[in-house]
Symmetry: C2
Subunit: 320 residues, 2 copies
């Protein structure tokens, strides 16, 4: 199996590459090669198969063609300009999130082999005038440019799949928490940093109140879902190739208490509660309650409680 990870240098791409390196297999077959591409060259990972890395700008169609020139059985398209940046730099978001995605879809189509294409969308595609409980048939109604660009790409992914150009699987990711590493420009950044930083002895700012509800998934379960996405049979996916991943709804205050139960009072005391209107303007438009029936029926997974998210961070990601 030849795997290509586009956006391979980001947190999910890096963690996915490490997981695939450990497994050596996907969908019951040995991985023969993995290509990792990003706008900056991704850091190396250990694997029992050859791994190539390269710098690829997905707004350059020829560069995407070159990346796929050796063939690809499974393409992970994880590359994106995140919500805060796509809001501030509209044209860049359009170029990467929509036009870049079309380049990836077209390059996959040009292979003529109907490769599996796993695309990471987001719950930022929901918002506004829709019911509070999101079902699989609830309208996408994004309230950010990031969400709109992802939603537009989703429509195309399903259509390219229906046409047989590729075998698409679009996952609307919950907010990933606790994200390891450095903060990015996502408006949702605090939903990780208020745990990640205190668990490592540093202060962090919480820009919303303790009663803010949101929909979460741990990095560990997210990576498991990215692998499941490549293994679900095409015929099980039905007519819409894009759907919300499982997650859990938590209030910020409850998550903080989960951290207290797992890690004690000290990290909790490092959270500074400072309301921030510009972040609230984005995140208060996001939906918090989902019934991910399709994803659960397909075998996708979630955390049992936010204690899981805290423990997985301590096991997988804490910098020692």
């Amino acid at each position: 199996m030849r795997i290509v990870i586009i956006g391979g240098g980001g947190m999910l791409g890096r963690t996915l590459a490490r997981a695939l390196g450990r497994r050596g297999m996907i969908d019951g077959q040995a991985i023969s090669h993995m290509a990792r591409a990003d706008i900056v060259g991704p850091a190396p990972v250990e694997a029992p198969f050859p791994v190539s890395t390269q710098r690829t700008d997905i707004t350059d169609r020829a560069a995407v063609d070159a990346l796929l020139a050796g063939g690809a059985d499974i393409i992970y398209h994880l590359a994106a300009i995140v919500s805060g940046q796509a809001e501030a730099e509209f044209d860049l978001g359009m170029q990467i999130n929509l036009m870049g995605s079309i380049n990836v879809f077209e390059a996959a189509r040009a292979l003529g082999t109907t490769p599996k294409l796993i695309f990471t969308s987001s719950i930022a595609t929901y918002g506004g005038e829709i019911p509070e409980m999101i079902e699989d048939w609830t309208a996408l109604n994004p309230q950010t440019s990031y969400g709109a660009q992802k939603a537009a790409a989703e429509m195309l992914l399903t259509d390219y799949s229906r046409k047989g150009f590729l075998d698409g699987r679009g996952l609307r990711l919950p907010t990933i928490s606790i994200r390891p590493g450095q903060p990015n420009k996502a408006a949702s950044g605090f939903m990780s940093s208020i745990f990640r930083e205190p668990l490592q002895g540093r202060e962090a700012i919480c820009p919303v109140g303790p009663d803010y509800p949101h929909w979460y998934l741990s990095p560990r379960r997210c990576i498991e879902n990215l692998i499941i996405a490549a293994e679900v049979p095409a015929e099980a996916l039905g007519q819409n190739r894009c759907f919300a991943l499982p997650g859990r709804t938590h209030l910020i205050g409850d998550m903080v208490e989960a951290m207290r139960r797992v890690a004690g009072d000290a990290p909790v005391a490092l959270i500074r509660w400072e309301p921030d209107r510009s972040i609230q303007n984005i995140v208060l438009g996001w939906k918090a309650r989902f019934n991910p029936a399709k994803a659960l029926a397909l075998g996708f997974v979630r955390d049992d409680s936010f204690e899981d998210n805290i423990r997985f961070f301590l096991e997988d990601d804490i910098e020692r």
Copy 2:
């Protein structure tokens, strides 16, 4: 008010231009100029204000900029590759329906005046695994490339509006019946031709059975709605600028009986019932039952019964 109609040579564009010519006014103000553009130069219309016509290929961004160079208060973007053709010529559909729409949105944005932009989307954006009754919050789930391209453009229209780049109003048109003039390549063509041709003494073929349900609007009410779309205040539209227009659900057999009541037995006898799998494969995926609550609340209109559609054709469009 300076009006630009893109796709001005098509049936709706021509009829809209004639209607605006008769009114001379829109949104309480006199129309000072109307530009009509299409891939082929539109035929002239009578109007009490200057009307220019030009050939514009919307896949050429510079051409769209040139079209809007004199400024525009209201832009109608009606240009599209219809469903049957977009299915057969995928790349052409992508170029016109999605990339061409983005060119129009970008050119409108470049004006810097936040013009009103009325975009004709379609009920072909619905389909597949969604409830049978379509509400305003039901997911777009297109089963054709035409529908997917329209749905992707809708996501952008709402986002460009939220950003203040333009003041978008996206209308999901019911199937328009009875369309006058020549058949086009839309898979829905028979839903007009089985009335239009017999009412003019000619045979027509019905490729589905009498129990096929679908969602309809007459050309007369559609044009009224296109004008209402330019007059609805922005603040009434809410966060999602795209919504289903009102219509009526009818079974083909009931529509044929409506024709019999208005025009007698002779035209009914000219319908030949010949099932066609390739057309059924497209149209059986379309949804037939809608609750267009948002559009009705905003003042958009529909026919009282299919007898209206028959009578409006005889009054407005029959070739004598």
